[in-house]
């Protein structure tokens, strides 16, 4: 059984240098967006999904766990943040904190259940758990069912930054994305990340070396869910609403698709994949329901012919790690 990412290169000083250069390039490119003609809300939305896909990728690319329910973290954190901001009147930073903490708690609870099975069973369990949450959010009063929580006040971050100004909001979201990205990057290049990769490659061997693999996988799952929740909390400020679409399983499918298109187990793949998919949805909106079909075709094409994804293929061609 071949692993999901079968040609990952060892971490070398050169690989680290390459990745830092690309990271700096990405940060600069994203920082100049407000001075170009690009619609900032599109980039902000893409950044939220990029962070979400990176968090998802931490789990599959480095832990070998395909979560098919990652939308539950996005939706849960979104609902909690939205409720905290609108009903409790908390400040933005506390709202984000509440949402992220909620996602972390959800990660602990669902992780303890889901981590008990591996492979496709893990995927099916995460999918079922997220559908359970979908029905709960459909029925509990604070989410307002089909209507969702709308008209969320944006407020002032730390009492200074006025989030209702698009440029300020953009840099706040960008800063959030970069912090989250660096946290994931630091994790995968730490001793903890190395153990995760060992588990992905050969779990029985990691067990025989004395690692408690279940604990490692659980911590990775909770971390991934927490960062995904952080992305969900940021998204509340961009979209100014929290709705059931964020918890629906088709959203989980989109997260998987983003990562697959960009490249499973690559550092920058999920970012590229998120931008590609969000741009596609934006510009192909006129096709209506055909967008679903196009997404399905991309899924099939990626799995059959293009398993490394965009970044994975580039990295493979240049024999670099990206």
């Amino acid at each position: 059984m071949s692993a999901l990412t079968d040609d990952t290169l060892p971490v070398t000083p050169r690989a680290l240098r390459d990745e830092m250069i690309v990271f700096a390039l990405m940060a600069v490119l994203l920082a100049v967006v407000p001075w170009t003609g690009i619609y900032p809300f599109f980039v902000m939305q893409a950044l939220c999904f990029a962070l979400l896909a990176c968090a998802f990728n931490l789990l599959i690319g480095y832990g070998g766990l395909l979560s098919f329910g990652h939308a539950m973290f996005l939706g849960t954190a979104g609902y909690i943040s939205a409720h905290a901001l609108k009903v409790w009147g908390l400040s933005p930073e506390l709202g984000i904190l509440a949402g992220t903490a909620g996602a972390a708690a959800l990660g602990v609870i669902t992780g303890l259940v889901a981590i008990r099975r591996q492979g496709i069973y893990f995927s099916m369990i995460t999918l079922a758990l997220s559908q359970l949450l979908y029905f709960i959010y459909l029925q509990t009063p604070f989410t307002h069912g089909e209507d969702g929580i709308q008209g969320i006040p944006q407020g002032h971050l730390f009492g200074i930054f006025d989030l209702s100004k698009p440029t300020v909001l953009y840099y706040v979201v960008l800063a959030g994305f970069l912090i989250g990205f660096l946290l994931i990057y630091r994790t995968i290049n730490s001793p903890f990340g190395e153990v995760l990769k060992a588990i992905r490659e050969n779990e029985p061997r990691a067990v025989s070396l004395g690692y408690k693999t279940d604990q490692y996988k659980l911590v990775a799952y909770i971390l991934s869910g927490t960062i995904a929740g952080f992305a969900g909390s940021l998204k509340v400020f961009v979209a100014q609403n929290a709705s059931l679409t964020d918890v629906h399983w088709s959203m989980s499918g989109e997260i998987v698709l983003m990562t697959l298109v960009g490249g499973l187990g690559t550092v920058f793949g999920p970012v590229v994949g998120a931008f590609v998919i969000i741009a596609m949805q934006q510009y192909l909106a006129g096709f209506g329901q055909w967008v679903t079909v196009i997404q399905g075709v991309i899924f099939v094409a990626c799995v059959l012919t293009f398993r490394r994804g965009v970044i994975g293929e580039i990295a493979h061609y240049f024999r670099r790690s990206l």
Partner: protein, 327 residues
């Protein structure tokens, strides 16, 4: 009490769909090592094929087909400048088939099963030996395509499919009123489930199949065409799903997303039961349907979630599932 029995019956009916679907999933998983995410989509196709057989098809004419392709290309070039224009209404002609429910019960599984075999030959074949997860992703993509195409042509609302005349009406059992069609669904699914179990566990073909699951190389050495058996197995699993679709058409309306909602519950059923045995999937399927029905009577708020809650409880106690073998 009437209401309780009614909910029990609804539970049994849902249970028969769960059983047929998880049975097909188990059969496919055994041979192909793939969790067929497209299972909900083929279930939906079964219901639609029954609908087509009865009411006919409105295929777009060849002329308007090419016009539409041309207009799409033109739109693609123009949309950055003028935005997207809706396509002209497709001209269609009507092909009347007029085959009733009984023909659908026979033909729909065969048609959809053949379609499944084509899918296996053209796509699934290429990912054998890869990680399980690629199978899940590939079939998920196939499900999106199939559902998307049906949604484009039929919207998201339901099409009615009449109960066949022979099965209309009901019986008074003394303690409850039993609509004949619903009783028929439960009994017929039970027969099909037992039949499939017999085929796999008690016949020579089933013995080959189980052997090929354990050791394909050895079975090939005995002169058995293993790739053909894999294709047939996928066709059988998909056909079972389509059969469930036909059975459900007169009860639930025929909708493009009827399988998408169901498949996640079936996944939970599979996690609860485990994929260990054929009989295990059948019993778990029916049992969970009944439990769901009982919940609908005693505590309706939880009826949507009870299967998932049960899944969590079972995982905490016995992670391999009720009938599952250790992974």
């Amino acid at each position: 009490m009437q209401a309780l029995y009614a909910q029990l019956l609804v539970g049994l009916i849902n249970g028969s769909f769960y059983a047929l679907l998880s049975l097909g999933l188990a059969v496919i998983f055994g041979m192909l090592n793939i969790i067929n995410f497209a299972h909900g989509a083929v279930y939906m196709m079964g219901a639609f094929v029954a609908f087509f057989l009865l009411n006919g098809i409105d295929p777009p004419t060849l002329g308007s087909f090419f016009t539409n392709i041309w207009m799409t290309l033109l739109n693609l070039v123009q949309w950055p400048f003028v935005g997207w224009k809706s396509l002209p209404a497709t001209q269609t002609f009507h092909v009347d088939i007029g085959l009733n429910y009984w023909w659908a019960l026979l033909l729909a599984p065969v048609i959809v099963g053949l379609f499944g075999m084509v899918l296996e030959r053209t796509m699934l074949k290429w990912i054998t030996g890869l990680d399980h997860l690629y199978g899940l992703l590939l079939t998920f993509g196939m499900a999106l395509i199939i559902q998307g195409v049906f949604q484009n042509y039929f919207g998201s609302s339901g099409l009615p499919y009449a109960i066949p005349d022979e099965l209309k009406g009901g019986m008074n059992l003394g303690f409850m009123f039993l609509p004949i069609y619903r009783g028929w669904v439960v009994i017929f699914s039970l027969v099909v489930c037992i039949g499939t179990w017999y085929l796999i566990e008690r016949t020579r073909l089933g013995a080959y199949l189980r052997a090929a699951t354990e050791n394909p190389t050895l079975v090939r050495a005995f002169g058995v065409n293993v790739p053909r058996m894999i294709t047939l197995t996928y066709g059988l699993g998909v056909g079972l799903a389509a059969l469930a679709g036909v059975l459900s058409a007169p009860i639930n309306q025929v909708r493009p997303l009827m399988g998408a909602d169901l498949i996640i519950v079936v996944f939970a059923v599979v996690v609860i039961g485990g994929m260990g045995s054929i009989m295990g999937s059948i019993i778990t399927g029916f049992a969970l349907g009944v439990i769901e029905g009982l919940t609908k009577y005693f505590y309706p708020e939880a009826s949507n979630t009870v299967v998932f809650v049960l899944m969590v409880l079972v995982l905490l106690v016995k992670p391999t599932g009720l009938t599952g073998r250790a992974a």
